[in-house]
Symmetry: C2
Subunit: 450 residues, 2 copies
């Protein structure tokens, strides 16, 4: 060891460790999401954490790019690579790079961490997982509806309470801007302010827009339009009457109507989503429908983002390919599920089915053999180890603390008679069986348990 | 989009993408390994990619630390964090940081990528996965034997051809050094040269040791000792006769004998491992038994490393904790399995069970409904999408190219009669059923398939 100075064990701010019981919960959420992605035919893709800087920069906007981590090692101080900021830009690179190896439409998913050097705060981390599903190569609204059906199926399987998928369309927002006399160069400012609707309310947004130099009458028109609300999808009709004569707005309305028809065919009920014209999404690359999901209680912000971005792949390839996708934010989903205690009871605190205790030095080999016998039958068996301290009470307490459901004991008598005793901790039921029958006994006790 | 210059889609050297068919193979290997880790009671842990520099530096030796990537983002140019180099040092930090939340012995696994800025070459990447299992808190050889049993079980389940687990002990190597009159300060040099035995042979090692200034008679003694070979474990007896009087050597021999006894109890046959005194392992932190696994054909270097490191946790904590573990190198395992075609036939090129075709615009909604019905029954159904181009031949060709086993067709007649036709591509078997019976029909065709 080069250096024997003690280092205080700690992490940098914004980074987290997940100990086993937390990991098993995370794994349950990730496995559920992955299962739904595969159910719709999305295939796994993995890209490296480190991308060339040229791939990442120039895609997210300058503010975001301040948050991208560059990386370099001692041997070469070149600043060539950087850590991925999301999974969307790497997907766009992959599609352009391997277009001959990929069958289109390309449905891919990726479940991976990303890094953003944001100021750490409650619920915001510098390293966090994204679960993305995207379809590349389809411009029709059947694709956008499928993505929403994927999201909705995930929420159902995780049993999330009353999620609402908010849907808007960048084309509609552009049309509203045209109608309200907001000039093109002011549209990004417009989006940025409207995006704060949830936080600062209608008055706050109005004030900001006027401060940004948009004329009062334009602001008023705009605010009236984004706040159009009616039951179900009727707000589309209201909007059409007002701005349906503007081509881009009309396209946007047609898209949302077509989406609603496909959502119905896919079994997504109208109660699961709403068209909300105040929802904008921050990222600059969206070109059509956009969506995010909120849960009212507890409200930790949106748990998904997504939308159509038909031009992004064109940054890496002569012709772009129409693409739509979603990114599920598992960090917030896990926070909500923890707060509401939504994890099913089979999500245990441990992977272990049975602890095989050790009575003394003499019987240690017999205990090892028993553990090995159980594992051959695919029973997850932990062999107790304690460097020669064999108090049985301590071993049972260890199993109890860890949440291990079953404990096997074999003392000298059992070893001599080829028997073993299995105890179920939840109800103290105990069986004493021949070692040859131990697998059946364990399976029996486990089946009653779950 | 801030910038419309086309970027050539590519990766930095040493980094890789995994397209879906490769990912499904990787996932099979990872799932098998994870299953074995859990079978022995190892629990999942996840640590962040970015650790404080102080945590990583001073642990691996100066050469290795040149390869660690530092990371920083535009907003704060501080060099506070770096990318993990392995999973062992983060484990040591975690054990010290959360010692009150952890039950000991702590068996944990972690399957995660690590980064090393090495010169990229065949089979060596800058980002690669490690699959680690370690037991913290046990000094007895039952722990070391269990780790070897974990490794052996993984090889069996992956069906790897004749892996040999080579076992040595750092204490033995120290004892040999004492016996041969190699002074303590020369031991690291000695290890480094012997480590090259496989590559440069006995003569090469001898030459290097003499160049390093170790006296000729010491080199000769050392070379005779490390090359002791005999059937099974009898080489331990030979070694004991020669250097058993040296305390540290005697301890090392006792440990390996004890390990052999536990390996027998755990059902690891003698043919699965050998004591090989020329095997050293590069890393400086090992303190007792060390092991690695080689496969003769194809020989891509060792596919696992591991051993006992009783002092590492002591760098983060007043008292250290005895620890032993292994790191399985899946990159090489996957290369070997690919070269020898060892993937079982159920590892498919796609996740999709059935492609639901679309006959024309009119029937698209009916096809959507059918896909949704299949998904409700947990059948992974892809809905064909093509922006209005509905040639059925092209849809079947798409399914065939992707390796999708089943194809569902419903044209206007089927829609009118509430029927659907399912075709299995492997043998062209086709059934025509009521839509209400489609799930049973698909399950039937899938069961014959697999």
């Amino acid at each position: 060891m080069a250096q024997q100075i003690k280092i205080k064990p700690r992490l940098a701010k914004g980074f987290r460790d997940f100990l086993p019981s937390e990991m098993l919960k995370r794994q349950y959420v990730i496995d559920t999401i992955e299962g739904v992605f595969q159910l719709f035919g999305y295939e796994p893709l993995q890209t490296p954490v480190l991308e060339l800087r040229d791939t990442l920069f120039g895609k997210y906007g300058e503010d975001a790019e301040q948050l991208i981590y560059s990386a370099q090692h001692g041997r070469s101080k070149s600043d060539e690579v950087a850590m991925r900021y999301d999974l969307t830009v790497p997907l766009s690179r992959v599609v352009a790079q391997y277009e001959n190896d990929i069958s289109f439409p390309f449905r891919r998913y990726q479940i991976s961490p990303v890094w953003r050097g944001e100021r750490p705060q409650r619920g915001r981390y510098r390293e966090f997982f994204q679960c993305d599903a995207d379809i590349v190569g389809v411009s029709g609204m059947e694709a956008d509806a499928e993505i929403i059906s994927v999201m909705n199926t995930v929420y159902q399987r995780l049993n999330l309470p009353q999620p609402i998928i908010k849907i808007n369309n960048r084309k509609l927002l552009t049309g509203m801007g045209v109608f309200s006399d907001v000039i093109d160069s002011q549209l990004p400012d417009l989006y940025r302010s409207i995006d704060k609707f949830d936080k600062i309310g209608a008055e706050g947004v109005e004030k900001e827009l006027i401060e940004r130099g948009i004329p009062g009458y334009a602001v008023k028109r705009m605010m009236d339009l984004v706040q159009i609300r009616d039951e179900g999808n009727l707000n589309l009709n209201l909007l059409e009457r007002q701005i349906g004569h503007i081509e881009v707005a009309n396209e946007g309305i047609d898209e949302l109507r077509s989406m609603a028809m496909y959502l119905d065919a896919l079994g997504v009920p109208q109660s699961a989503y709403e068209f909300d014209f105040t929802m904008v999404r921050g990222l600059s690359y969206y070109t059509g429908p956009i969506f995010e999901t909120i849960i009212q209680e507890p409200n930790l912000g949106s748990i998904t983002g997504g939308g159509r971005y038909d031009n992004l792949i064109g940054l890496f390839r002569r012709e772009s390919l129409p693409t739509v996708g979603t990114s599920l934010g598992i960090e917030r989903i896990i926070d909500i599920m923890t707060e509401l205690d939504l994890f099913p009871s089979h999500v245990a605190d441990t992977v272990v089915d049975i602890l095989v205790t050790v009575f003394d030095d003499e019987t240690q080999i017999a205990s090892s053999r028993l553990a090995s016998q159980l594992r051959k039958a695919n029973i997850r068996a932990e062999l107790y180890m304690s460097d020669g301290k064999f108090k049985l009470g301590k071993q049972f307490a260890y199993a109890d603390k860890k949440g291990i459901p079953l404990v096997a004991t074999l003392g000298p008598d059992e070893v001599a008679n080829g028997r073993v005793s299995i105890k179920r901790l939840s109800d103290a039921k105990e069986v004493d069986v021949l070692q040859a029958d131990v697998v059946d006994a364990v399976v029996g006790l486990m089946q009653i348990e779950f």
